[in-house]
Structures are given as structure tokens and as C-alpha cells.
Amino acid sequence: MAGTGKAHLRDPEQTLLRAEDLVVEFPLGAGGAKVHAVSGISIDLVEGETLGLVGESGCGKSTTGKAIMAIPKPTSGSIKLDQVELTTLDDESLRRTRPVLQMIFQDPISALNPRRTVRDIIAEPLVVWWEEEEGRPPTSAWLEAYGRVFSRVAAQVIRPMVPLLTLLLVAFVLWVTSEAAEDRAWEGALGWTQVPAMIIGFPSLAAVGVIGSILGSMGLIWLALAVMVPFGVMSKVLGKVSPAVGLLAAAFATAVTLFMIWRTWNSFAGTAAWVGRAFVIAIALPVVVWFLASLLKPARAGATGVALALVAVLMLEVFYVSGLDGVPKLGAFVLAAAIDIVLFRLVRKQAGLRAAELRARAEPKVREMLETVGINPDTSLDRKPYEFSGGQAQRLSIARALILDPKVIICDEPVSALDVSVQAQILNLLEEMKARYGLTLVFIAHDLAVVKNVSDRVAVMYLGKICEVARPDELFANPAHPYSHLLLSAIPHPDPLIEAHVTQVAADLPSPVNPPSGCRFRTRCPLAQERCASEEPVIREVAPEQFVACHFPLVGEAAQ
């Protein structure tokens, strides 16, 4: 089984979603081993069709579903949605396909944010796309860029230094209190007034650069560096830095740092000069270490290198400002912090108001969706997901997936966590929604009876390959692949007179790290021959609309 081939695919003109030769591999450890989760799957769906993906756990059915959504992008292969190739799209264009392609997850409770109300959860997709269509206020773009830069720097540069910085801060305060009386601390390259700015964070440092440059009448170079570099250019660059850019940035950061050390080393005076020097070293050390490390592994220099360069530039500004006299310097910092806080608040408030307005506008649509999925909006809008039972929460997930009016929904084991009676409710609901909105569904499940019930076409998967593709009624009546036969025989029948005749299964699923050669099912297959080990079967049609990847299928002229 478990072969490759595309005999079962239909005319590309007709298909709405088409995945060809999908391969997903996950690296495993340092030895170059890989988990072959999906190895050359091809599936297609015409509009309004439901494709059932079925197999044991570990067969790659969920990975296939996620690869179609490009979370993560498949290692290789092509996915075409409405004739548009998804695998080559950049992140932003891919994001724009999301309203068309939605997903419903297995565990409804963990797929819904427990801290938000039903109203917000269901409205969220609409709010996001309305914002997108109508253009966001420029301030929120600024806010987002800041957030992206800061979180990266915070995570990779500042956070590891926090214990050291705290220690040095204490030492600094002690130093300042002991030496301020002699008024010598002002001479230092790092005056105590800079400490609060270091704590408040990034924008204040940038603003310090601006104000410092104005106070020092130093022209526009600093202004440009302080404003444009951090929030404009860098945020764009950070998104997709190449190793080379990262390495260059790290080199720049290191150069700046070393320059600063050289300039400031002797500017510390008095008995506590070593404290100031230690402070400089503490800031410089991670930069230098990172630079050396990225020389060894350029691929890892990436975004952090750029972030470090950013820090270095800002540090330059700080050192420049510290050339000022005591009082204007203090004023610059206080002003910077104040402007920063006010601006930040304003921006956030504006963004919040905007979202609230959009949520209010979305409410009629939210109510409509809730009613469609059988939830009373009057009693549920202000409740949170954990106040609902599993079945109701799955209804909420369906409402959220439907609110953008998608064409394709990928349902990843949507009923596996539910009771039989609730399962029936959800399956019926999915059928209703499909009829009403003309949906195309990819339905992933391990329960064959469930898959048979909802599907127009079923693909049986095993260890990252397709075994058999057929209409459900034919597949269940006459399975052509030995694996389909095995799966069917394992279903527990709700009838004591039918004894479960499970074909003896020799072993567990083989490891997807070292999948068997040839047909991947051969290690468990009762019909396996030598040919199965040497030659991988290719999918072919053994009966009308029944495709199988097996050398010895149970159906067709080859069957005995």
C-alpha cells in the first residue's frame, strides 16, 4: 500500500482544493533523522464534496489536514485552492486565504479562549477582516510594529540579562548615593538618570535620542535613526531576515559596542569606577557572545542579530545624550518617558475603541450564526466557553468557522471527544451546514462508521501514504486494500451476534522515522509477498471510482 500516484485525482479544472505529492517531515534530533509524517499524499475535492480521511493515529491524517492549512507549510508538494498555489504564497498572502479555508479542531474546549465571552470569540474573525478591509488606523500599525520588535528583543536580549541588570542596578544606586554628593557621577558615561529609561524600555530610549538630538541641535541624522530605524525599517526587516543580514547586523552591533567600551572605559572615575565598567561589560558581553556564536552558525544570526543592532544603536543614543549636562539630561529622560506613556495609552485606547465598535457591528451576524448552530444567543452571548458542554462548545467552534462564509472547512476529528448521542447531533449539524452554505469538507476521523456517514469519498491513510480512495459505500462493502479490510474488521459492532473477527495484527504501527521499504503496510499485511518489500505500489483504479495502492488488491481482476 501505501503507495504514491495520482490516478485517483480528477480534472484540475473541476477541483476546488487539490493537494499533490504533499510531503511533511519533522526533523528529529541532531543526527539528521526525520519523522516521515506525510510522504507523497495527493488528494482533491470538487466543490460541495466531503472527503473523509481515515486511518490509525500516527498515519498522518491530521498532519495532512494541517499541511493543507499550511500550519506548518508542507516540506514539499503543491496545494491549490481555487487554482491558486498556496505553498509559494508569503505569510501575508497566505493569511488572506484564511476566510476561505477554515478549520474545526478535535477538542472544542481547548480550541476556544477561556477568558473571552462567546460574543467576542464568534465575532473575532469578522472584526479582524473588517479591520483588514477598511484599513487599520496607522497608529495600530505602529503599535504592532513596536510590539513585534520589543517582544523579540525582550525575549532574546533583555530577558536573559535581567538578573545581572538588577544586581548592577542595586550597585548603581548605592554608587550614586555615595558619590552624588561629590557631584562626580555626572561625569560618567552612564549617569543614574539613564537607569529608569533602561527600565521603561524601548520607545523611551528612542525618544531620548530624539530629544537629545534636539537639545544638542545635532540635526536630523539622530532623529531618523531614533524613529525610523526602530519602528519602521527594522520591524519590516525583522519579519524575514536572511542569515547574511543577521550576521551583518550582529557585526555592526558588536562594533558599536566595542567602540562604546573603548570610549567610556576611562570616563569612569573615582573609587567606584569598576561598577560603571562592569555595567558596560554586562551590556556588551551578550552582544559579543552572540556575534561569536553567529559566526559559527550563521543561520542562527537572523532576527536576533538585527535586534542586537537595534539595541546598539539605541545605546549609542544614550551615550550621546549622556554627554549633556545633568539637568537637561534629566529633563530629557522624564519628558521621554512621559511622552512615551501618554502616546502608548492613546494608541491602545484608540485600537480598543475601534475593536469594540466593530464587535458591536458584528453582533447581528453573531446572533444569526449561533441560532444556525442551535445555540440560544440571548442566554449564551456573555458566557465563557467552559460554561458549555462539549457538544455545545463544538457548536460554537462550528459557528466561528462559519461566520466568514468559508468555502472549505477542514474538520480534524470534530466528534472524537464527544459522546455518541452528542456525536450524532454534531454530525447532523455538519450535514445541515454543508447543505445550507454549500461547504466543501475535509473530514478527518479514526472512526470508520462516522467517516462513512459524512463522506462522499474516503481516503484510507497508513503511515503517511494513501492506501485506498473510493466512494464510502463501495469501500465499506468491498474494501480493496488489505489495510482497509483490517480497519473494517476491527470496528466493534453494536450487536452481540456479530463476533469481532479481527485479522490478527502482528505488531504496532512501524516507526515513521524508518518506514518500511516498498509498501509501508507490508510488515502487518497478511498478504505481503517479496515484491511488496522491493517495489512501492502505485495507485490504480481496480473498480469504477475505486483506487488502490496495492500489488495484490482484494477487488478487481487481480483479486483471487
Binding site: Q423, L427, N428, L448, D456, D473, L487, A490, P492, P494
Partner: protein, 369 residues
């Protein structure tokens, strides 16, 4: 098993003589949880007995009280917030009268349990062999070496390939099905006289599920050990039990020998459960019969039959008066309904509901969500 144990697979003649003496007797078991909204009666006046060598299935939706019944029988529920009344005796030992120390002596040699989530019930930082041997070391006071040999034998019995190497591995190195086999080996290690399996296959794939159920059935017959199999899947109990109890809202709704239950179910709830299962025989896109609504919360006292609000057969009487467990034609078959399925009363009740608009022409309930 290799470890000498009077209740091992080799039964003495004396054992077969009292074959009909019940191993497990549960009488009027009621378990109540104290919740902020008031006392919640999860198990309400449940009585049943279980004989040697038989397998009993307990079926119901989540929240029907099947797991709480099992835990009450084992006395595994915490003391605070829970009150359990009624009688539970295992091989004549009154479980309700035992203290913590005596209970510990019961768990393992007398009664053992297999839980739903195999990863959650294994210690992630302890070797498989040590976990399997732990019960033996505690209850039978055997040496480390003997316990290890016994553990090896047990792993072989539950069908784990290359058990020798598995002994020194950790749970995360095994697949889900293998882990569940280890859990079963642990439960079997002290040769329990009663095994309770609480949703043992719910977390597993169909193929693995079939293997695990086969293993449980084999061990049950081989050891002549009674088995309580708790599940929400009627398909699971169908082939592997001799008797089935259907629970709903803490009550036993129907109890029958398995073939009788599936052939001649009397309780509308059993029928509704059965109808809601998607069956492989149905052509694809068959609309499934659903049980509308949700089980009651069991905090407020319920008037009438507990299933009445979701029942296709329900009449005014059902909302007022709770039916008693009524015996049916077959021996051991009891149910709790005024208008049982497949009887003239039941047919008439359906007809009335159809004419007064409670049912659709296809016979589905309207207006409950």
C-alpha cells in the same frame, strides 16, 4: 502468571463449586457530591450483583454516573465533599466498613482497576518493570528479583513484544496501545478477584481497541475473573460482556443479559443510544437519530422519569411519576419504563405523541434543544 497465587489461572475444584456465589454485591448505592449549587446525586440507588467469570458492561452518556459507580465500589472517591451510602461487598468483604489501611490491602489482590488514560495512570519517571512489580512487592512481599521475573511474565501475558527490553523502559517510550497493556498488566499483577475497566479503550484507535478488548476478554476467561467494563460505546459491550447495565442520570435504566438487551431492548433510552450510533451498514449520509437536549444536572430533585424530557415515548404520566425497575419476560431483564419499546403500550405512546405534534412524521422529537 508465574507468581504462585491461589487465584491464578489454575483453579481449584473448590473455586468452581461456588461459581454462582456473587463476587460483587452492590445494594442501594448512592453517591452525593457537595457542590456550591447544592448536593449533586451522581449515583442514585444503584443495586446489582456480579458472579464469577462473567463480564458486566455499564453503558451510558457522560455524566450518567457510570464512572462514579465504579469509583464508589472501589472506594476511590475522596472523603471530603462526597457521601456514599448503601452496601458494597466484594467476595463477602464489606467495602464500606474498611479503613484506609484495609482498603490498600484490597486494592490489587481483591479488586483492581484499569483507567481510561494510560499515560495518566502510569508514573512517567518510573521504569515499566518497577511499576508492574510494585503491587507484587507490596502485597506479596516478594524479593526484587522474583518480582522482576513475575513482571516479565505479566508483560508477556498481556502481549507486549520483547518484554525483556520493555522492563527497563519508561512509559513515554511506548505507544498508546502498549501503555494500556502495561496498565492492564499492573492491574492483573496481584491476581485480582475482580477487575474494573473504566473506558479502557476510549483513547485508542479501532485496531488497538480490538486488541485491548480481546486481551481483557482472554484474561477474564483464563483467570475466571469477573470484569466490569464501563464504556459509552454500545459496540464495545456487545461482543464482550454477558450482562449490560444501562445508566442514565445516576439510575439504572435497564439491565439484561447482553443478547437479550440488543435483541429486545425495552427502555426508550437504550433504544435512543443505539439509534444514535452511526453504523457501518447504513449507506453514507444517513441522517442519524439524535437524543435531543442534555442529561439533567441532578442537583435539583427530579420529578417523574429522568429521561422523560428527551424521550420519544414520554406521556404526561412519565413527567409525574418515576417508574420502578420492572422485570421483563426474560430472566434477569429489568427496565424502568411505563411505555416500553416494542410493546403495545409503547407503540400507542408513540402514536399519541405523533398525533399531538411532539414527534415529526419520521418519529423524531421536536422542540427540545
Amino acid at each position: 502468571m508465574s507468581y504462585p497465587n491461589s487465584d491464578g489461572p489454575v483453579d481449584t475444584v473448590a473455586d468452581t463449586v461456588d461459581d454462582h456465589a456473587p463476587v460483587l454485591v452492590v445494594k442501594n448505592l448512592t453517591t452525593t457530591f457537595a457542590t456550591p449549587r447544592g448536593p449533586l446525586t451522581a449515583v442514585d440507588d444503584v443495586s446489582f450483583t456480579l458472579r464469577r467469570g462473567t463480564a458486566l458492561g455499564i453503558v451510558g452518556e457522560s455524566g450518567s454516573g457510570k464512572s462514579v459507580t465504579a469509583r464508589s465500589v472501589m472506594r476511590l472517591l475522596p472523603k471530603s465533599n462526597v457521601t456514599t451510602t448503601g452496601e458494597v461487598s466484594i467476595n463477602g468483604i464489606d467495602m464500606m466498613a474498611l479503613g484506609p489501611k484495609e482498603l490498600r490491602a484490597m486494592w490489587g489482590p481483591e479488586v483492581a482497576m484499569v483507567f481510561q488514560d494510560p499515560l495518566g495512570s502510569l508514573n512517567p519517571v518510573m521504569r515499566i518493570g518497577d511499576q508492574v512489580a510494585e503491587g507484587l512487592r507490596i502485597h506479596h512481599n516478594v524479593s526484587r528479583k522474583e518480582a522482576r521475573a513475575a513482571a516479565l511474565q505479566l508483560l508477556r501475558q498481556v502481549g507486549i513484544p520483547s518484554p525483556q527490553t520493555r522492563l527497563d523502559e519508561y512509559p513515554h517510550q511506548l505507544s498508546g496501545g502498549m501503555r494500556q497493556r502495561v496498565v492492564i498488566a499492573i492491574a492483573l499483577s496481584c491476581g485480582p478477584k475482580l477487575l474494573i475497566a473504566d473506558e479502557p479503550t476510549t483513547a485508542l484507535d479501532v485496531t488497538v481497541q480490538a486488541q485491548i478488548l480481546d486481551l481483557l476478554s482472554d484474561q477474564q476467561t483464563e483467570r475466571h475473573m469477573p470484569l466490569v467494563l464501563i464504556t459509552h460505546d454500545l459496540g464495545v459491550v456487545a461482543g464482550r460482556t454477558q450482562e449490560v447495565i444501562v445508566m442514565y442520570a445516576g439510575r439504572i435504566m435497564e439491565r439484561a443479559r447482553t443478547p437479550v438487551l440488543f435483541r429486545d431492548m425495552k427502555m426508550p433510552y437504550t433504544e435512543a443510544l443505539f439509534r444514535s450510533i452511526p453504523k457501518v451498514e447504513y449507506p453514507s449520509h444517513t441522517r442519524l437519530a439524535i437524543i435531543p437536549g442534555r442529561p439533567p444536572t441532578m442537583v435539583e430533585p427530579i420529578r417523574g422519569c429522568r429521561f422523560a424530557p428527551r424521550c420519544r415515548y414520554a406521556q404526561d404520566r412519565c413527567l409525574e411519576e418515576e417508574p420502578e425497575l420492572t422485570p421483563a419476560v426474560d430472566r434477569d431483564h429489568v427496565y424502568r419504563c411505563f411505555y416500553p419499546v416494542g410493546t403495545p403500550e409503547g407503540e400507542q405512546a408513540l402514536e399519541i405523541n405523533r398525533s399531538n405534534g411532539r414527534l415529526t412524521p419520521e418519529g423524531e422529537l421536536i422542540g427540545v434543544s
